[in-house]
């Protein structure tokens, strides 16, 4: 009997060793792991240094904010905040923090951490800094008690609430202990995390990506279906991402793949593709401040010389939605029913005839590496040649174009690009793109119309959303009538996933990269 027990124990240990060698989990539960192939490299994990959609996964999964954007159209939802109050003058925002939220080291999330986080953003002057630089004075945010935060704004602002999700709350005690030469813990946080989010960091390599495990004590709690581990890897090549998905190496990738690749993935039996209208408009800036582009007739001629249908239906295979105004179709403040311009060379010629003086060769800017901008520039050039206007295409990297965009003299006559979602408020689009106080910064058209500007300025401080919507609708229509730019489409997001992946929730702000809702079947 004794020998039998010894033999049984020996066999059990051999079996366990063998199971572990072939990768069978020995704890009785198969751990679910989701691997995402991302086109942007995770150069840093510091949530206050970066503010782009390409690297949003590290912020959304490892950090929480007072509020969070969820779903599509995006809904602003209290997150670490339990409730909030806005003063009658629109200058004081008071947030009550929910109790029970903890950082990954187990310490409670308190008001002092929120204060530290906003002060850190203001001090580093990076990432989401520009959203708060004009509205919050350093040192003005207070924590009257451990669960109350008061933001005292310099001026009334109706867009502040929409920008609050960008304040990712960091563990202030932990970061203070990691500070070197007053860097706010920057060097340490670029490779580590100090958050309270749904997942906690387990591995990070800037050249590869990051891996995180589920934070079981997250304040939102977990249902019975969840992911145990997530891994976001950098895979630069589109073809490699697609092949990796088909091969089963990855379970998901970005939703802005070329249409031929989307079709390829749709045809694969192991994949499915989620489709959502995002909030990322494609348009051409027209330099309104430069002669002869200050003439509305020339701008209207340009707007009629672009073949919208051909671009959307043929070049992009109908994968986007026509968006004729500088506000996305799927957000309030969009003037519904506005048709915008059509490809009509006769109208273009008629407007051109009204332009006084000679028309110089037009420089059409495009972004190197972003094929659509080059295709749109070529299509416009074709239309312009038919109405007798000479043009040249200049394609340059974003690092070059972004510099020229801020300089009135260096700016191209026209430039094709996208306007992404930084916060889901019409101010993110028409409110910044055509406001006089943003000229040379976020208004790169040098468009400044007193009447439009009045509407936009009113909307920035008006607390009533219905009134704000009316202002934005009117302003968007006026800019379109003025042909302030050539507005083409609103992007559609095609998120490819392995069929095992369930529960994906898309929001234009996070591009479905918040993984707490997802599970594997």
């Amino acid at each position: 009997m004794k020998h039998f027990k010894t033999f049984k124990a020996l066999m059990l240990s051999v079996a366990l060793t063998a199971m572990s060698l072939v990768g069978i989990p020995t704890d009785g539960m198969a751990k679910s792991k989701f691997v995402f192939a991302n086109s942007s490299p995770y150069d840093t994990l510091d949530p206050h240094v970066i503010y782009d959609v390409g690297r949003v996964a590290s912020r959304l999964n490892m950090y929480d904010g007072l509020m969070r954007w969820l779903d599509n159209p995006p809904k602003l939802t209290p997150w670490l905040a339990e409730s909030y109050n806005i003063s009658a003058d629109g200058k004081t925002y008071t947030f009550k923090l929910r109790k029970g939220a903890t950082f990954h080291d187990g310490s409670p999330v308190e008001a002092k951490d929120v204060v530290y986080s906003i002060e850190r953003i203001l001090a580093l002057k990076k990432g989401a800094f520009s959203l708060f630089s004009k509205s919050i004075e350093p040192g003005s945010t207070k924590a009257p008690d451990s669960h109350t935060v008061v933001f005292n704004l310099k001026t009334a602002s109706s867009i502040f609430l929409a920008t609050v999700p960008a304040i990712h709350v960091v563990n202030s005690d932990l970061l203070k202990s990691k500070e070197v030469n007053g860097d706010w813990g920057g060097v340490w946080l670029s490779k580590n995390e100090a958050g309270s989010g749904s997942f906690e960091l387990t591995r990070y390599d800037p050249a590869i990506g990051f891996q995180a495990k589920r934070y079981a004590d997250h304040f939102m709690g977990w249902g019975d279906k969840y992911l145990d581990e997530i891994e976001f890897r950098t895979v630069k090549e589109i073809n490699s991402r697609v092949l990796g998905l088909m091969n089963g190496d990855f379970h998901g990738t970005d939703g802005y793949l070329p249409q031929d690749q989307v079709k390829r993935l749709k045809a694969d039996g192991n994949m499915y593709v989620l489709e959502e209208e995002s909030m990322r408009i494609f348009y051409s800036i027209i330099h309104n401040g430069r002669k002869p582009f200050d003439d509305v007739n020339l701008r209207k001629a340009l707007s009629h010389a672009f073949d919208y249908d051909s671009f959307i239906d043929n070049i992009l295979s109908g994968s986007v939605a026509r968006n004729p105004v500088p506000v996305p179709n799927n957000i309030w403040g969009n003037p519904k029913g506005e048709k915008g311009y059509t490809f009509d060379l006769e109208k273009a010629k008629a407007y051109l005839a009204k332009v006084k003086g000679p028309i110089p060769e037009i420089t059409i800017g495009a972004l190197t590496g972003y094929g659509q901008t080059e295709q749109a520039a070529a299509l416009l050039q074709n239309g312009l040649s038919k109405i007798g206007v000479k043009s040249k295409i200049v394609s340059e990297p974003w690092s070059v174009a972004s510099k020229k965009m801020r300089d009135e003299q260096q700016m191209y006559d026209m430039l094709w690009l996208w306007r992404s979602t930084y916060y889901a408020d019409p101010n993110n689009w028409v409110g910044e793109m055509y406001a006089c106080d943003q000229v040379g910064a976020r208004n790169n058209s040098w468009y400044c119309d007193p009447e439009v500007d009045k509407l936009l300025m009113e909307a920035r401080v008006e607390p009533d959303q219905a009134k704000r919507a009316a202002n934005y609708e009117k302003a968007a229509k006026m800019v379109t009538d003025d042909a302030g730019g050539i507005f083409v489409y609103n992007t559609k997001w095609f998120g490819p996933y392995n069929k095992k992946v369930k529960g994906v929730r898309f929001s234009p702000i996070g591009n479905a990269q918040e993984m707490r809702w997802v599970h594997m079947e």
Binding site: S133, V187, N239, S240, S399, V400, S402, K403
Partner: protein, 334 residues
Amino acid sequence: MRVLALIINRMLWLVPTLVGLMVITFTISHIIPADPIAFFAGENATPEQIEALRVRYGFDKPLYIQLMNYLIGVTNGDLGISIYTQRPISEDLLSRLPATMELTFMAVFFSTLVGIPLGVFAAIYRNSFLDHFLRILTVSGLAIASFWLAILFQLLFAMELQITPLQGRIDGWGPEKITGFFILDSLLVADWESLQSAFSHLILPTLTLAFPAMATIVRFTRAGVLDAINSNYVLYEQAMGLPSKVIIWKYVLRNALIGTVTQIGLIFGILIAGAVVVEAVFDWPGLGLYAVEAIMNSDYNAIMGFTLVTGAFFIIVNLIVDILHGIIDPRTQD
């Protein structure tokens, strides 16, 4: 003693060569009309925010002062901070260098191992079917674009036959880091699973990178052997009745290799440049991908750091080649 003198001589030249390289790279990277600060600050940044960052990173100073500051930093072992990653450049480079070196060494090793014998056979059996076949193969190796070959290998070996991994450097995150070279680290910690995984992941990128390199080696070896085979000393050895195998592999090859070894030194540099494409396709986390990102972001310090490291590496490899030259042909030491 001669070898030591050669090393000292080359080391003395290393400093001015690298300084020259840095000045050229610095000038070229700074005169292009890009604004890395505006790019890093993002499209939402205000002019004040951009200006504040410009001052913080010293980009507000005249170009010659920026260059002087950089050179002073380099002499103190400080390659600066990446605007984009916010980490020291030396840290970024060191974390990626082993991946590129491992791939490059494997490609050079494979192309040499296969290329030299094939070159010899092509010369021995010149104008035969084998020679013609190798000619087609080598011309293809030089003509076919790396990215196309890489995708072709992926489709065939990883997707269709499923005998190699599609991409990446290893399954998971690799063995315990000692040197950063996965094969070496796997051996040091006796992690056989990682060793197997690292080898299997190396196959396709190595083949892609080695193919054009091998073609060059075959052609040079063939030409060298043909040149040597017609020498008087070969005629003399044949007259002495030495077996042809001994003549070819011991005497002819030694003389024929002089040109090939020079080529191998140059190939190292070409392979590091070629690794940019291969690393992108195979998602290989090396210096090539880092350099591409640095150039696209106009991350000056990163571009300079990459150039400095690859330049120094190239010079050292060529120094080794010169030493090997001396060993193969002692006359060159005179």
